[in-house]
Symmetry: C2
Subunit: 237 residues, 2 copies
């Protein structure tokens, strides 16, 4: 679905042939490792500035300053703020998918897999600035202007599939509308992390997510399975 | 708590004594009614522009254009974008509180009152651009820069009180942590409306809120009361 985002940004670097200016303008081409390190530093700095200021108030000058590179070095990798925002979102997508793939390949029950996915998302959102930046860019509703086809669609489809499996496994009441519940979990989680961010810069997010499950699960898990589900190690993390 | 917001913005108008420029600079002071109509038009235009563009990308030129007034007329009422944003938030607070006071003065059970409050909030968010604008400004995390002490605190305290009363009335399980549930409802609702806004410009919000209650209530309402609570007219709106 948004593989296009990754291709767009990653295919951009090799297509540039103009030499960089600034500290690398001495005539010598930077080694590939050095170029990659610079690109990574710029991306990290951009994530940090986007996460703090949002899209509109971010300038390439501030990003270059934060990254400790010249604007010429920045322009070698990213043509514009728009480019940089897309690269941040591509990197967020990559980081999140990497964590998710590992969990989805495991042999946990569907309901535990769902809880582990949300826990992994939470952990990365607290720890990795690129994830916090991606979330900030997406919630700023500038989605249409960036290369994001549909920010929630992929998760919605993964969650719906897990919930359908959870019914088969007996961990979810069979009358539950899985698409509606998936949509609700995404909405509820989005808000829980946002309020946590506004009030505590996400310091209380793990606790708030635990509370979310504590209030949500008793309404959708069959009574006879509730105790076992609430005792899942994934909820104790 | 945020009565200060209202006082700040409302006390600013009479303190100005410089005559307006632009169409009212003909030497004649505009009548008070006319001044109020201009202020209301500017506020509505500002709400519309803030809701669409957010704080950073809003300019006073665009607001004046949208309101059909000169910048001089705008400056007669609002000294800066910061002032205008605070006035929009004060107006949102007023609109929301007006609706809430009426519901809180009614004689519905606590759980029904809570559901009615959320329904009224939803209705106003869909219908009144000043509410949508206030929500947008608050979720942009520029809270600290504006005169908002604590965007969720007042609702959190009202909701917690209602939930405590709902336990006494038998509509909520006595083991529920009311402060945690209130916090969760605010977070879940914040996200549900935000995802609805991103995906459908809030067209599906009433349906999503109905789903939120349908998933949330069975987890917190005692089994023997669940059918009656889910049948509340407030949920059928």
């Amino acid at each position: 679905m948004d593989g296009g985002v990754i291709m767009t940004t990653e295919s951009r670097v090799p297509s540039r042939s103009t030499p960089p200016s600034g500290p690398t303008a001495s005539g010598r081409r930077p080694s590939q490792e050095r170029a990659q390190a610079t690109r990574a530093a710029v991306l990290l700095a951009a994530a940090s500035v986007f996460a703090e200021r949002g899209y509109a108030r971010t300038t390439l000058d501030v990003v270059a300053l934060e990254a400790g590179v010249t604007k010429g070095a920045l322009y070698f990798h990213f043509a514009s703020k728009h480019d940089l925002a897309n690269a941040v979102i591509a990197e967020q997508t990559r980081v999140m998918r990497e964590g998710a793939d590992e969990i989805l390949a495991g042999d946990a029950s569907a309901i535990e897999t769902l809880i582990l996915l949300v826990a992994a998302y939470t952990e990365r959102m607290v720890r990795e600035v690129v994830v916090a930046a991606g979330v900030k860019l997406i919630t700023e509703e500038i989605v249409a202007a960036l290369d994001i086809v549909e920010p929630y669609e992929e998760w919605d489809s993964i969650y719906t599939g897990l919930l359908e499996r959870a019914i088969v496994e007996g961990d979810l009441r069979p009358d539950i509308d899985c698409a509606a519940l998936s949509h609700y979990i995404i909405g509820a989680y989005t808000g829980v992390q946002q309020v946590s961010n506004s009030l505590t810069q996400r310091a209380d997010l793990p606790q708030r997510v635990a509370e979310m499950w504590r209030f949500l699960l008793p309404g959708v898990v069959p009574t006879e399975r509730l105790e076992a589900v609430l005792a899942l190690p994934a909820l104790a993390r």
